[in-house]
């Protein structure tokens, strides 16, 4: 399991290649990447705050659960904080499993839990001002399916 919480950008392609390299136990690798979305065309940047100390531990707990439930060969989570421009990669997850169904399901589980249980908070800064992104009820509901 690899968990990284960092301010600096990461190279999605390089991370995927590194994660998949040299595996003999996994027939499937699934990745998800989240980018900064500009809904209004007016977004200057996103500011992501996190809880140093708790963040890595919380993500490791979520990833451990994914590895256990879907018998993953490995899992990778990278999540950024700080100031991020529209279109910039925020985070990525990768899962490796013998078969694809487990790799897909585990990646979805990771994303659902990272959204509502990893201590990050997003603030949108536009020309009109700044506003904290509010958690959606459907994000909380998404946890029920697991």
């Amino acid at each position: 399991m690899q968990v990284r919480v960092q301010e600096e950008p990461f190279d999605m392609g390089g991370e995927l290649a590194g994660f998949a390299h040299g595996r003999r136990d996994a027939g499937a690798v699934v990745t998800f990447s989240g980018l900064v979305r500009d809904d209004t065309g007016d977004l200057s940047h996103l500011e992501i705050e996190h809880y140093p100390g708790m963040t890595t531990t919380a993500i490791e707990g979520i990833a451990s659960e994914a590895i256990r439930r879907w018998s993953l060969s490995d899992a990778l989570v990278i999540h950024r904080y700080g100031r991020l421009a529209p279109g910039a990669p925020i985070m990525m997850v990768a899962t490796a499993a013998p078969h694809r169904a487990d790799a897909f399901a585990a990646a979805e589980f990771l994303m659902d839990y990272l959204k509502s249980r990893a201590p990050f908070w997003k603030k949108e800064v536009t020309s009109a001002g700044e506003a904290w992104v509010e958690a959606k009820a459907e994000d909380e509901d998404a946890l029920d399916r697991w």
Binding site: G34, E49, Y51, G53, M54, T57, A58, H79, I90, M91, M111, L114, K115, S116, R117, A118, P119, F120, W121, K122, K123, W132, V133, E134, A135, E140
Partner: protein, 83 residues
Amino acid sequence: MSVDVLYFAWVRERIGLPRERVETQAETVADLVAELTAREARYEAAFADPTALRVAVDQQLTDFDAPLAGAREVAFFPPMTGG
């Protein structure tokens, strides 16, 4: 006892600081919230709607009725928006 109290996102902005050391006799998180709310209007503003808040004790998510005995760190924040 004394405990480190941390605030994140708009809770931090409303209270005006990221963390502070608090002397308290509170037995639960809810008691601590009541003590802080009684202090000043900015705390009252931050804790006005507890259902809009989440709490972690020693970096583990928990509930407002959680006991504080032996706790070193309590954090208050809005629902998380990761991913």
